[in-house]
């Protein structure tokens, strides 16, 4: 052969994998910003969904608003709008993660880019992790916009510590996204999983008390609620946002969140490994 054989320019090592992970995050963010409708939705959605419950609550409180006092007494909340907004925002967080992270691999598969990514020597879980980074950033923007909009429009004031709110949200990330990872792997296997999204978000809506205290639920439903991390997230966020709760007071919510988080991250990772292995055997990632 006349020409010398080409030598690969690729390097090995953890640093190379980290750079690849960063590239996935950067790509995801750039694509996100190139769909202006997504950015506009960031401003509209925080208001629209909670408004349904806020207006319903006002109607149910009666013409003189007397029912509101009963609601405040049952919930222990000082601000019914803030109480509803926290619950609905957590519900929207889980819902968006299921649609976004949960369908991330499927969307890549349908675009045709999943295979081209998987042809590279990058650790394959990076594609899910990398998708999650910008998603977390956009969700924190979502929370900030929610606080800003409800503060300006309805006078909702966060009396608690912003750091405690942040800490509670951070403690919930492993559970919320671990479930998203497991879901993403299932979606690429079964191809169509809308029914699962409806089931999970329906469970969060009914069992986790997004607009009411779970003490109102029958005993068996309360038992189920205790096995859902969103229950602790909603309770912890309300405590952090509207009282002076510190880490000690929040611990009954933070500890279960971290335990559930560990569980769901492990489930998410192993579901991904199972799916990846299955895809190599069945050719599932090349099928649309």
């Amino acid at each position: 052969m006349e020409a010398s054989l080409p030598v690969s320019l690729g390097q090995r090592g953890f640093g190379a994998d980290l750079r690849a992970l960063w590239a996935v995050m950067r790509r995801e963010w750039v694509i996100f910003t190139r769909y202006p409708s997504w950015v506009i939705a960031l401003f509209i959605w925080p208001v629209i969904f909670p408004m349904l419950y806020i207006l319903t609550a006002r109607a149910l409180a009666g013409p003189d608003g007397s029912g509101m006092a009963v609601f405040m007494e049952i919930t222990g909340a000082s601000d019914f709008i803030g109480y509803i907004v926290i619950g609905t925002t957590v519900w929207m967080w889980q819902n968006i993660v299921l649609w976004d992270v949960g369908f991330s691999l499927r969307n890549e598969q349908m675009r045709g880019t999943l295979e081209s990514n998987w042809l590279s020597p990058t650790w394959r879980f990076s594609y899910l992790l990398g998708h999650t980074g910008p998603q977390v950033v956009s969700m924190f923007m979502f929370f900030s916009i929610t606080a800003l909009e409800f503060g300006l429009m309805f006078g909702v004031r966060l009396n608690g510590s912003v750091w405690m709110i942040l800490l509670t949200a951070l403690a919930a990330i492993p559970s919320i996204y671990g479930l998203g990872f497991a879901f993403a792997s299932l979606v690429i296997t079964v191809k169509e999983a809308n029914a699962f999204v409806f089931l999970i978000r329906g469970m969060v809506m009914i069992f986790c008390g997004i607009t009411f205290p779970i003490s109102l639920l029958p005993g068996w439903m309360q038992s189920i609620a205790k096995w859902l991390p969103q229950t602790y997230l909603i309770h912890g966020m309300r405590e952090a946002a509207f009282s002076n709760a510190g880490i000690r007071e929040l611990a009954p919510d933070l500890i279960p969140l971290l335990l559930f988080g560990t569980f769901w991250l492990v489930v998410g990772y192993f579901t991904f490994l199972w799916m990846e292995r299955r895809a190599r055997r069945t050719g599932a990632i090349g099928q649309y």
Binding site: A3, A20, S116, L119, T282
Partner: protein, 348 residues
């Protein structure tokens, strides 16, 4: 043992079959009685690749030809580690495709699914920078390499535009540039000119020839016989999951040089005429192709002796609204070899 760029031995890939598509043997077996609580019966399997052997030398262009569903893409997908073989082994650049999958991926540049393999919401440059990171190319090296490839692909003026604004040919060039980023020793090109206009396809073929000169080993699958003939050092013909012939293009053509190819152009083609022509002694492998939208058909058939067959052919054509427009006796092409071996045209 010889140091092959790609060395596949008895590769087999079976998939769970969709209803009515499984292997014949499994389908013919009587259905077992279903019993309550009985273990689920194993699924019927479909064999996509059935014992493929390929030894590809370093620095050669190897063309893999086969009709749709013959097993080309499944073979390529196994070699690039997207699929695990059911049985058999393969080494790419000396690495086992199952046990050393990551090393295999480092050794390969692959064009699969062409223009769909890149991000349309990124620019051409952003795509290449992204994939450079995935192939673990250091940032400073990547920048130079991306510039170099953009220049080489003649995309310098458009590199900062979104890929969605590119033509199919430009997208394909970005897909090829992506495969070349890490300067891998082996390239797997699955239908690299599919859907391209003639000029763009010619440019890609020139590029493939240049890459060979640079020392890359290339495994090429294509639907275009002329392309395989022009580019390949050796060609493997695959059908129903098996390599049924493997030789140089000239060697393959020599296999049927005792035969002649009669090519007719006619209008008013009908199935009855096909039966008549097939019944003529010494005529085999009849294939037809409609020329564009008009009622003009190209009919090719292989004959042991065209002198004896021609009068009968002309006799069969006359009448029934069929009009002979042109008739030639031509030298067998690679396509004729393919038809001779598989009994069908490549586009079937």
């Amino acid at each position: 043992m010889a140091d092959f760029a790609i060395d596949a031995r008895q590769l087999v890939k079976k998939f769970p079959a969709r209803p009515g598509t499984g292997d014949k043997k499994a389908e013919d077996s009587p259905a077992p009685k279903r019993r309550l609580f009985a273990r689920k019966e194993p699924k019927t399997m479909f064999t996509a690749v059935n014992g493929v052997d390929l030894q590809i030398e370093r620095g050669e262009i190897f063309g893999l030809l086969g009709p749709n569903g013959a097993g080309k893409s499944t073979t390529i997908r196994m070699l690039c580690t997207l699929l695990e073989p059911t049985s058999g082994t393969a080494q790419v650049n000396g690495f086992d495709i199952v046990k050393q999958a990551n090393d295999v991926r480092r050794s390969l540049g692959t064009v699969l699914a062409g223009e769909r393999s890149i991000y349309w919401k990124l620019t051409g440059r952003e795509n290449l920078e992204y994939f450079a990171a995935l192939y673990h190319i250091p940032a400073d090296v990547a920048k130079k390499r991306v510039d170099e490839l953009i220049e080489r692909m003649e995309l310098k003026d458009r590199s900062n535009e979104l890929v969605e604004k590119y033509s199919t040919g430009m997208r394909q060039r970005i897909a090829i540039a992506k495969a070349l980023l890490a300067r891998p020793p082996i390239l797997l090109l699955d239908e690299p000119t599919l859907g391209l206009d003639p000029q763009a396809a010619r440019r890609v073929r020139e590029l493939i020839a240049e890459l060979k000169q640079e020392g890359h080993t290339i495994l090429l699958t294509t639907h275009y016989m002329e392309e395989a003939d022009q580019l390949s050092d050796r060609i493997g013909i695959i059908d129903t999951g098996k390599v049924i012939a493997l030789d140089t293009p000239e060697g393959l053509k020599r296999r049927i040089d005792q035969q002649e190819v009669i090519r007719l152009e006619l209008t008013g083609w009908h199935d009855e005429l096909a039966e008549k022509l097939k019944s003529i002694a010494g005529i085999e492998n009849l294939t037809t192709r409609q020329q564009g939208e008009a009622d003009l058909w190209e009919v090719n058939m292989h004959a042991q002796n065209s002198r004896t067959a021609l009068p009968r052919i002309v006799e069969s054509i006359s009448g029934n609204g069929t009009r002979l427009v042109n008739m030639n006796i031509v030298k067998p092409s690679l396509e004729d070899v393919f038809i001779h071996l598989t009994g069908k045209a490549l586009r079937d």
